[in-house]
């Protein structure tokens, strides 16, 4: 047998702690740095602002940052999926505005189109559902043009950007609509009591531990290599410390904001969708090699269309959170830095612009960076111009790193 010609590597258990250097090297070779760079950047930034800005390191500001970033994070979650298939969605800013307008109009008393409670279901839930359906329809529309007709997503969503902005302006002749529905406003304004905060942390950490340990048991049953138990325990401990720490900080202010729960729940749901389902696998495949995916029998246009639906729906959800934060929707909904912030968040977090590489959690880390820059510079009394320049610089660095990694990956491949 001569099949051993290439095997000159020492035989290390590829799942143990001893193999971490090997795994890191392989990942870097494959152009996959994971979340480490952005987490390091985040820690440095938090430390910097903590020492230089007034009122940054306070529980009140911690809660403010969470509520500030919740809307952008929703958009960024959707952007990750679009970037994973190697596309871009420039319409999300104003699609989020559309959702805000729909929500505001449908709760408007005496407007003739107000939605009321149906039985036990509060009106707010129905209104949010309708707004998300509208966004889903926008996603189907834009996604179909990209996936079935083959028009570049850049142009389709650029047209969408203009169309939805115009729609918002025409839909709000009164310039601004106040949102009075408490269900909607609670998305950004509700805080859990201290007790509920602790309960959420206990349930969350417990569920996470159950899933991780269950996965290990299942792998062992099938005779598949499992991660080193010491590593798993470290990971579980880290999650527990972070969760209880966050709840402790929130509780010393107004409590755990519902927005934080929403951010975490969507993170879990979308990560599950991306990593544990057939559809998610197909998203990565289409982004990695669309032709290979097509030949493997994957319905590539369908995957692409659904990704644009996810993008629009997440934009809509983000738009509703942003509207809830202001308790109103105005004619500028979805404009400003929302689009650039959301895309920056996904890219800064480590999602590749070239497709096939990235994870949902990248968007959360990236959004933390983006919001921490703006919040930190704000507490330092810097101007809006400084914030834009700083965000742009970090985005630029992230894109350069992405491109260099992509080149390394191409070289490592053969």
């Amino acid at each position: 047998m001569s099949t051993q010609v290439e095997s000159a590597l020492p035989d290390i258990d590829p799942t143990g702690i001893g193999a971490i250097p090997f795994r890191i090297r392989e990942n870097v070779k494959a152009g996959n740095l994971g979340s480490w760079p952005v987490v390091v950047v985040l820690v440095i930034m938090v430390a910097y602002f903590g020492f230089t800005a007034n009122n940054f390191f306070t529980a009140v500001n911690f809660n403010n940052i969470i509520i500030q970033m919740a809307g952008t994070t929703m958009l960024a979650y959707g952007v990750v999926f679009v970037l994973l298939i190697g596309e871009i969605d420039l319409s999300i800013g104003f699609v989020s505005g559309i959702a805000g307008v729909v929500v505001a109009e449908l709760q408007l008393p005496d407007s003739g189109h107000q939605i009321h409670d149906v039985g036990p279901i509060p009106a707010g839930v129905l209104i949010i559902g309708v707004a998300l359906l509208v966004c889903a329809a926008i996603g189907v529309f834009q996604g179909s043009i990209v996936a079935r007709i083959g028009v570049p997503a850049f142009v389709v969503t650029l047209a969408g950007l203009s169309i939805w902005q115009g729609t918002i302006q025409k839909a709000l002749p009164e310039q601004v609509v106040i949102i009075q529905d408490t269900t909607i406003n609670n998305l950004a304004g509700y805080f859990f009591s201290d007790t509920w905060g602790w309960i959420i942390a206990v349930v969350g950490v417990g569920a996470y531990a159950a899933i991780v340990i269950g996965g290990m048991l299942s792998a062992r049953r099938h005779g598949v290599a499992i991660r080193d138990p010491a590593l798993v325990i470290l990971k579980l401990l880290a999650v527990a410390v972070l969760s209880f720490g966050a709840v402790a900080i929130c509780n010393s202010d107004r409590g755990v904001p519902f927005a934080l729960l929403l951010v975490i729940i969507m993170l879990i749901l979308l990560t599950f969708l991306a990593k544990r389902t057939t559809f998610g696998r197909h998203v990565y495949a289409v982004g990695g090699n669309a032709e290979a995916a097509r030949r493997a029998g994957i319905n590539v246009p369908r995957v692409r269309t659904i990704v644009f639906v996810i993008s629009s729906v997440m934009a809509g959800l983000g738009g509703i959170v942003l509207a809830a934060r202001l308790n109103s929707v105005n004619i500028a909904a979805g404009s400003g830095t929302l689009l650039i912030d959301a895309i920056s968040a996904a890219v800064i977090g480590g999602t590749s612009l070239f497709g096939g590489r990235g994870e949902v959690r990248n968007a959360l880390f990236g959004a933390m960076v983006v919001v921490t820059i703006s919040n930190g510079l704000n507490t330092q009394n810097r101007s809006a111009g400084d914030i834009l320049i700083a965000t742009g610089m970090i985005l630029l660095i992230a894109v350069i790193v992405d491109t260099v990694l992509k080149r390394r990956q191409t070289k490592a491949g053969r």
């Binding site: 047998m1 001569s2 099949t3 051993q4 010609v5 290439e6 095997s7 590597l9 590829p14 392989e26 070779k29 494959a30 152009g31 996959n32 299942s218 792998a219 049953r221 099938h222 005779g223 598949v224 290599a225 544990r276 389902t277 057939t278 559809f279 696998r281 197909h282 990565y284 495949a285 982004g287 990695g288 090699n289 032709e291 290979a292 995916a293 030949r295 493997a296 029998g297 994957i298 096939g356 590489r357 990956q409 490592a412 491949g413 053969r414």
Partner: protein, 277 residues
């Protein structure tokens, strides 16, 4: 899709060339607009043999395998599998007949790991489309072991980190994992060095030994004479000749590739047949 062990893998290569062809193609024609890519091509391959498909650029090799693989249909002619006429309208149809193609570009997703590539488009999942990762990993390991692909360090590493020969092995392993009976390999050694070429050719021979029908497309006659049982020559969209490897020479095959004439001219004017000669 459920994984079932390939029953053919256990069969040893005792079948003689007199067995009926697994795949039999008669008078297959295909045109793209005004370009006649294939004209009444005949082709066959039996279980347990490596049938080489050779021809110059533009001879119609790719078109022929794309017809077999269900990438595009054909205009006229007949394709039989196990003696029964079949229609192949999609890659899924081809897979259903046990036909798998390993393309020259391998059609691997570099960003996915070996297991994910092996199950690309046919992921093992439960009723809610949730992936059964341990099942896929265990079966991938099993298949790699049965094909004696032992150089890959971890089947959980991204394909981007593998060498050319390893990538080829993954693509071949993927093709044979799915109850396949006919594996078509398009230029499997084109981009490989000497050692890796030897490794892949060994794998090709092993597939035939295990009872699969193998179609090997290659420009490299040295590789072909190393593993092929028979050799079919295409030229300008016509099937020119079929040689037994042991009864022919590289010179004879090269002659057919560069200057062979169609033995069959029914359906086309005689002048046309002479014109291409």
């Amino acid at each position: 899709m459920r994984f079932t062990p390939n029953p053919r893998m256990a069969v040893t290569a005792t079948e003689t060339p007199t067995t009926a062809p697994l795949l039999e193609i008669r008078d297959l024609s295909k045109s793209f607009g005004s370009v006649q890519a294939l004209t009444e091509v005949d082709f066959e391959v039996r279980a347990g043999e490596v049938m080489a498909l050779v021809g110059d650029n533009g001879a119609g090799k790719s078109t022929l395998i794309k017809c077999i693989a269900g990438i595009h249909g054909w205009d006229s002619g007949e394709v039989r599998v196990d003696g029964k006429p079949v229609s192949i309208n999609s890659p899924k149809d081809a897979a259903g007949l046990g036909i798998e193609v390993v393309y020259q570009d391998l059609a691997l997703c570099d960003n996915l790991d070996v297991v994910q590539n092996m199950y690309l488009g046919r992921e093992a999942s439960n009723g809610f489309q949730v992936l059964k990762e341990p099942v896929m990993e265990a079966k991938t390991a099993e298949t790699m072991k049965s094909l004696r692909v032992t150089t890959i360090r971890s089947i959980r590493q991204p394909v981007a980190t593998l060498s050319g020969g390893q990538r080829q092995s993954v693509a071949v392993a993927r093709a044979v994992m799915w109850n396949s009976r006919l594996v078509i390999l398009d230029e499997p050694t084109a981009a490989l060095g000497v050692a890796q070429t030897a490794q892949v050719l060994e794998l090709v021979a092993r597939l035939a030994d295990q009872g699969l029908a193998v179609v090997l497309i290659s420009h490299n006659l040295h590789d072909i004479f190393a593993v092929a049982t028979r050799i079919t020559v295409l030229r300008l969209g016509y099937s020119i000749a079929v040689f037994e490897r042991e009864k022919t020479t590289q010179q004879e095959v090269i002659g057919a590739i560069t200057a062979g004439t169609p033995t069959k001219v029914s359906g086309i004017p005689t002048e046309a047949a002479e014109a291409i000669a």
